[in-house]
Symmetry: C2
Subunit: 210 residues, 2 copies
Amino acid sequence: MKRAGRPVIPRKTIYRLSIYLRCLARLRENRLGTVSSEALAKAAGVKPTQLRKDLAYFGTFGTRGLGYIVNDLSQKISEELGTASLQPVILVGVGNLGLALLSYRGFEKEGFEIIAAFDAAPRRKRDKPLKQPLYGMDELEAFIRKHRVKMAILSVPAAAAQTVTNQLIENGVMGILNFSPIVLAVPEDVMVNNVNLAIELENLSYFIQD
Amino acid sequence: MKRAGRPVIPRKTIYRLSIYLRCLARLRENRLGTVSSEALAKAAGVKPTQLRKDLAYFGTFGTRGLGYIVNDLSQKISEELGTASLQPVILVGVGNLGLALLSYRGFEKEGFEIIAAFDAAPRRKRDKPLKQPLYGMDELEAFIRKHRVKMAILSVPAAAAQTVTNQLIENGVMGILNFSPIVLAVPEDVMVNNVNLAIELENLSYFIQD
DNA sequence: AAATGTGAAGTTGTTCACAGCT
DNA sequence: AGCTGTGAACAACTTCACATTT
């Protein structure tokens, strides 16, 4: 929580905190009480010093000579990330990819819930019955306002992406997880995370050339 | 192509080259002949100087006072990324997410083709008929070797991820697009790109807190 | 006049080295 | 003795400022 008075934590650190949290969860499942920065860093795929620096941004939790108490550290990171406050999310664009994301179970386990989906053609035949209600685009504005939705997953075709984005933002959405292959123009205070599968593949293919 | 004698291009630059390429494609569709670094940078969501620096890593293509020729620049970037050489890709783990990725049309348009899918339970009932052949895990090794597969998309459950990864690498896979929520341990010369949707959401939710 | 290409300056992020605690 | 916490050194990346070309 970027409250005044607190240090600003770098973006990359926040990313890694999420990773640490997941590693800690596995340690807990294995009933481990404490962990050293070396062990946790290894599990997370980073250097021990980086882990310690990351934690130092928002406190000092370790015991010298011993390491970190798994439960405590887990909770501290959770608090810092604000994971406690479960955010409602909507999804816009129920094509192939959107449909998949809707049925993907990975979200709920992590404390997010897609509470509704929207599509330009909500009655189009889909193979699978959805858990979430599916509405037309004309109901988008009212829904966002009514449920105070702050986060949206965008999986519409490229041509529609900017228009939909504008609609989302006008009605109060502050964070967008963008799967459409376009760079969205947004005001400074709106946050966009891009996930572009084609680019990820292209990137891989570049680096594996001998 | 990281050939000896060429400068090493930073990872982030490679990422952005992919983005520029897509922006240029749109300019071409709109029949634009030339573009300035300012205009292209804006479309790509970066600063003009950054765009120019990125390009400078592998050549000088612009004309001062004029800008870049869309077609030429497009081709140069394509060459640099090695997009020309269309890589065959396999997908392992046909659950919800894997299924979605298989039916996602975004890949083929960008020059990738998922040529086969593998799953521990290949006969499990799935709602949708697949375009790609679906095999059991026992056929994985032979297939990779026979088709000289270098890239894989991994969408298996966390518990299976590392085991499958080892299998892939032993048989020659050099690049993995990992959707499973685990940090994979791999040798240095193997490249992993992680896509973790839960972390992306968690990250968004952190930054939109007021 | 307009826009690129680039050395230098600035910024951000990572790693080292070691002091300091338990 | 073992392991954390952190200032300082280092490395990577970005932006600036401006010389240079068309």
